[in-house]
């Protein structure tokens, strides 16, 4: 069986929104990751069959961002490219698409990845204001222009629609992501303290893993100032304390909420590039893969409980692979919110849960020592289109470094889904 090889990958540092990468577009971040992967591997770009990138807030000026990234990174113009969007799992979607294409015999070598610049998600004009502006530009005479101009009201430009906010709000159930986390808090009875402790651990693990994470990160020198290099993720806080976390006010539910900015993932910019090749082709080309994609699964859940997605996707992926949760030597559940990860842990550990959904044999308790060993999105940040790819990269590097064989990486997905991939060496 010709397996799907994840040959190599690289990512940019993850930078909090509005910080070091404020002036880097998503296409620029993606290009940097893609080009550096090509350079480091000494990859002959002519070998690439297609380029697939995940991106959520696809910039208006870079339609089909994968194509823009491909061309700027030096991939031949004759090589096709397309962009995928499965919300927070877009990075995984890119890799999975490559796998599916390889399996279908469409090609054997795919440059994939994810990119996101949440700093550059724009503010949008209201439709009313947009129509007035269009009227003005279409008006042929000055009086006509002035007439339309007079329709503008203060609220039109003082209250734009905030793209980031809209993107993080589910249109079907009307809740934003943080509010869905609060839903799970109530469902599972998760306390504020438990969430803060989880968040603290994430920061501590990430700080401890600085050197280790440098193995997957390339320094980025942001233009146009080119002042200094960003070498590490700037999300993890050294000396983070429970007290400091406890001081924060709940962000998504006033008064009664428990989800804060401190125990949620950070809004972040970053990109990741991964080369996916069929096992036989990789051998032909003398490549030494980091690992292989064993199985993947996506599952749907209620949008207002999107955080529980991994608890459904994990058993599904295990079943496809014919493996058990206890077989997994490393586990990543994306830390969109501390509460959401804890909810997944509890669901997977619950026999009732397994019975209710027919997951018997494919669930179980998760050993905390195996979970998110180098910290997660709470500390590192969650550039939504990129994280899925990063999880795959980090997981494979972790398996390799510790001489382990198999792990599972999963994410919850805004809109009510879960994704999981099993990786093996």
């Amino acid at each position: 069986m010709d397996r799907i090889a994840i040959v190599d990958g690289i990512r940019t540092p993850f930078s909090k929104m509005g910080a070091n990468f404020n002036n880097l577009s998503a296409q620029e971040l993606g290009r940097i990751a893609a080009r550096e992967l090509i350079e480091r591997m000494g990859l002959d770009v002519k070998l690439i069959d297609e380029v697939i990138f995940g991106c959520v807030a696809q910039p208006a000026e870079a339609a089909n961002i994968a194509r823009v990234i491909a061309l700027l990174a030096g991939v031949p113009k004759t090589t096709p490219a397309f962009t995928v969007h499965r919300n927070c799992a877009s990075g995984i979607e890119a890799v999975v698409n490559a796998a599916i294409k390889i399996k279908a015999g469409e090609g054997s070598c795919y440059l994939t990845g994810g990119t996101e610049s949440m700093s550059n998600i724009p503010f949008l004009l209201s439709k009313e204001y947009q129509e007035i502006l269009t009227e003005i530009s279409r008006a042929k005479t000055l009086p006509a222009k002035l007439q339309s101009f007079a329709k503008i009201r203060a609220h039109h430009f003082l209250m734009p629609r905030i793209g980031l906010q809209m993107g993080l709000t589910d249109p079907v159930c009307g809740l934003n992501m943080g509010q869905t986390a609060e839903v799970l808090v109530k469902e599972f009875g998760i306390t504020r303290r438990e969430q803060d402790e989880f968040a603290l651990a994430s920061h501590q693990k990430a700080i401890a893993a600085r050197e280790i994470l440098r193995e997957e990160i390339i320094p980025v020198i942001p233009g146009p100032k080119y002042k200094e290099a960003v070498i590490d993720d700037n999300g993890p806080r050294e000396g983070q304390t429970l007290e400091a976390l406890a001081k924060l006010k709940p962000f998504f539910e006033k008064g009664t909420g428990t989800v804060t900015a401190g125990n949620s993932s950070q809004v972040t910019d970053g990109a990741c590039a991964i080369l996916v090749v069929s096992e036989s082709r990789a051998k032909e080309l003398g490549m030494k893969p980091l690992g292989f994609l064993r199985s993947f699964a996506f599952a749907g859940v209620e949008p207002n409980r999107m955080g529980i997605g991994p608890a459904h996707a994990i058993p599904k992926a295990l079943k496809k692979a014919g493996m058990k949760l206890s077989d997994m030597q490393a586990i990543e559940i994306n830390e969109a919110f501390a509460s959401q990860v804890i909810a997944c842990e509890r669901a997977l550990a619950s026999e009732k849960f397994a019975k209710d959904f027919g997951y018997e044999g494919y669930t179980g308790a998760i050993d905390p020592a195996k979970l998110n060993v180098h910290g997660g999105a709470i500390a590192l940040g969650h550039p939504v289109g990129t994280t899925g790819a990063r999880l795959i990269l980090t997981m494979l590097k972790t398996l390799k470094r510790n001489d382990l064989n198999v792990g599972i990486a999963s994410l919850c997905i805004g809109g009510g889904q879960g994704a999981a991939v099993i990786l093996e060496r």
Partner: protein
């Protein structure tokens, strides 16, 4: 025959197609043939006459410069211009519409021919350039260009084109009215036929109509006050470009146009032909023509005897050392579509290199030469690294690290291990031994010097340095690469100082001696700029950095002899940390205005016995003597290599034709006499005429035979 006529359906077509040549040139023979055809066509009643070229990407490249070069008498110059003018007049006077169909380069006489036609049709061909570059050869258009261009496109545009000599693209030509229509090259002949139908329908279309102006432009063009403004602006621009008036053709061009703008054809052309003749016989013009040939030869330089060797295509380069030069080289590479992997020891250094590269683009963006998306795509071709990742597939590795031989040798040894067995290893060193570096590399045959000048994006010269090990393949590939990067290459054997720095440092050192004897910094610099050097020796030293200059002098002293021992006074200046521009103070102080540094000038007592004529002679003759030594030692093969190097690498005045052309103009006997006199005075051997020069004197020869 170079000119053909055929007729079909009452439309005549004249085609220029010079045999055995890639281009069409209006030499006297071709003009005569064209003239004869026009005589035959005078009496016909054609619907229209098309004039076109059969050459790819070339309409008519101009008159035959060789013929102009040979003009030595005023009467011959005037006659030559008049001959061309008459033919163009004949063309202009044809009673039916004439249409020039231009799908390529139309310069000088080619443009003038097109101007004499009623209509000009051009294509979207990227290679199409139309203009009147005669001023750059030291004369003015002589086939009616000054008469017709201004009448067609107006004073501002016409004056700009003629005085700058810069050709324009077809879209610019369409915008200013020089082109009547633009058509795609594919299907051109059909479009031209349709155009002829269109214009035949209305007889009014046969009459010459100048471009119509609107608004403020119309004010400038139609109003004598507006004209004054235009002339004034142009004159100011010329004064800025050529403050000492070394190049008379610019102001003369303005003069011709000013005098003839309202004159009838015959009188206007008479003034044009006289001015043309006056300028064409001047030594300045002769020198500029020679420099033109020199420049063409070296821009397209090929290795004789290496025609069988295919140059290796270069698509990716590594640049080691992200300093000012490294960053500049990376920018040049990215601008020319070559991937650049920029390496340095840490991220801070890489950041500086990227910034240096970006700053060049930022300047170009400010001047609207390039737009932001293009800059983003070009900067994307540069990536940085602190290790040798990304080196395995480079075609050439260029080292631009600090000028320290041990460090460079180490770099060569390391890089040899990581690049492919085909890749070239090049050094940007300005003074160190490329041979030594070659010995440190795994494969010395692939080692070559590739010396850029600062700033990389602006200085056109590149010295390609060969060692005894450099293979012909390496040289051929590197030569092609230099041309691909848009540089003018000169091939130099590995010797201290190579070509340019060796000559230049002698000049600066001599200036230092004159200063030491009690010279004025300002006056010495003035002598040099009055001679035509773009900057005086002390200004130059401040630009480069006195520390750098003295360091190179040490290298030259060790390698070439005591004449390069740096003047003691330089050490005193260095001790006071007056390095130059980079430290804000050097021989001059750089504030809002530049002033002479009194602390440096104060180091010597001004002597009244310094003779100006002798001072400039010393500075120039020492360069000539050194250049002759360079030829003697076969560091370069020919005097024209010296001259192109000095012109392109230091801005040696083109109006003098080059350093050795200037030496020839002095005369070898006078040169030797001058050198011996100076040697008698200073007695340290530096002015002793070298064997090469003495040999020339004995043979009664010149540098340029």
């Amino acid at each position: 025959m170079s000119v053909f006529y055929k007729e079909e359906a009452n439309i005549g077509t004249i085609t220029f197609d010079q045999p055995d040549s890639k281009v069409n040139v209006l030499n006297s023979a071709t003009l005569m043939t064209f003239d004869k055809i026009l005589d035959e066509l005078k009496g016909k009643d054609l619907k229209a006459l098309i004039i076109q070229s059969a050459k790819k990407d070339i309409f008519i490249a101009g008159a035959d410069i060789k013929e102009i070069e040979n003009i030595t008498e005023l009467v011959d110059g005037k006659a030559k211009a008049q001959a061309g003018q008459r033919v163009m007049d004949k063309l202009e006077d044809l009673p039916y519409p004439t249409v020039a169909v231009i799908d390529g380069v139309a310069l000088g006489g080619g443009c003038e021919l097109a101007l004499a036609c009623r209509y000009r049709i051009m294509t979207f061909n990227d290679k199409l350039r139309i203009g009147l570059p005669e001023v750059n050869l030291g004369f003015v258009p002589g086939f009616g260009g000054t008469y017709r261009l201004v009448r067609l496109v107006g004073l501002a545009q016409g004056l700009t084109m003629i005085v700058s000599g810069n050709p324009i693209s077809s879209s610019a030509a369409f915008k200013c009215g020089l082109a009547d229509r633009l058509y795609p090259s594919v299907g051109l002949s059909e479009r031209v036929k349709e155009f002829i139908e269109e214009i035949s329908a209305q007889p009014a279309n046969r009459i010459f109509k100048p471009v119509a102006f609107k608004g403020f432009q119309a004010f400038l063009e139609k109003n004598p006050l507006g004209h004054k403004v235009i002339y004034w602006q142009t004159t100011k621009l010329i004064e800025k470009k050529d403050p000492k008036g070394f190049y008379p053709s610019f102001l003369k061009a303005v003069e011709v146009i000013q005098k003839t703008k309202y004159l009838p054809r015959e009188r206007a052309l008479d003034i044009e032909s006289s001015t043309f003749a006056q300028l064409a016989i001047t030594p300045v013009s002769k020198n500029l023509v020679k420099v033109f040939y020199l420049s063409e030869k070296y821009k397209k330089l090929i290795m004789p005897g290496a025609e069988a060797i295919k140059p290796m295509p270069i698509t990716k380069a590594a640049v080691i050392g992200a300093g000012v030069m490294g960053g500049g080289i990376a920018q040049l590479l990215s601008d020319r579509g070559v991937w650049a992997r920029l390496k340095d020891i840490n991220q801070e250094a890489i950041a500086k290199g990227l910034k240096a590269a970006y700053d060049v683009y930022a300047q170009a963006m400010k001047r609207k030469k390039v737009r932001a998306p293009e800059v983003a795509a070009k900067m994307a071709m540069i990536s940085g690294t602190v290790d040798y990742s990304g080196f395995s597939d480079v075609d050439i590795a260029i080292e631009a690290v600090v000028e320290n031989l041990d460090i460079k040798k180490k770099v060569f040894a390391q890089v040899s291990e990581v690049i492919s067995s085909k890749a070239i290893l090049a050094s940007n060193t300005s003074s160190l031994s490329v041979t030594e570096m070659a010995r440190a590399a795994k494969d010395p045959s692939r080692v070559i010097g590739f010396h850029f000048f600062n700033p990389v994006h602006r200085m056109p010269l590149i010295e390609i340095i060969t060692t005894e090990y450099t293979s012909l393949q390496t040289l051929v590939s590197t030569l092609e690469f230099a041309k691909r990067l848009g540089k003018t290459p000169v091939i130099v054997k590995d010797a201290p100082g190579f070509l340019v720095n060796r000559i230049l440092l002698g000049y600066i050192n001599e200036a230092g001696r004159i200063f030491d004897e009690g010279g004025s910094i300002k006056e010495i610099d003035r002598l040099a700029t009055n001679f035509g050097m773009p900057m005086g020796p002390f200004t130059l030293s401040d630009e480069v950095g006195l520390d750098v200059g003295v360091k190179v002098l040490h290298v030259l002293e060790t390698g070439l002899g005591a004449r390069f021992k740096s003047v003691k006074i330089f050490d005193e200046v260095l001790l006071k940390k007056f390095l130059g521009k980079k430290s804000g103070k050097g021989f001059y102080i750089y504030g809002k205005k530049r002033i002479v540094n009194p602390e440096v000038q104060g180091l010597v007592k001004i002597s009244s016995s310094i003779q100006e004529q002798e001072a400039i002679e010393r500075m120039i003759y020492i360069m000539i003597n050194e250049a002759a030594l360079i030829l003697q030692e076969k560091v370069v093969d020919t005097p024209d290599a010296v001259d192109i190097g000095m012109i392109m690498g230091t801005g040696f005045p083109p109006f003098r034709g080059g350093l050795l052309r200037y030496a020839d103009s002095i005369g070898i006997d006078r040169l030797v006499e001058g050198l011996e006199k100076l040697e008698a005075r200073f007695k340290d051997g530096r002015f002793k005429p070298c064997a090469y020069i003495l040999d020339l004197k004995n043979r009664g020869g010149k540098f340029y035979q």
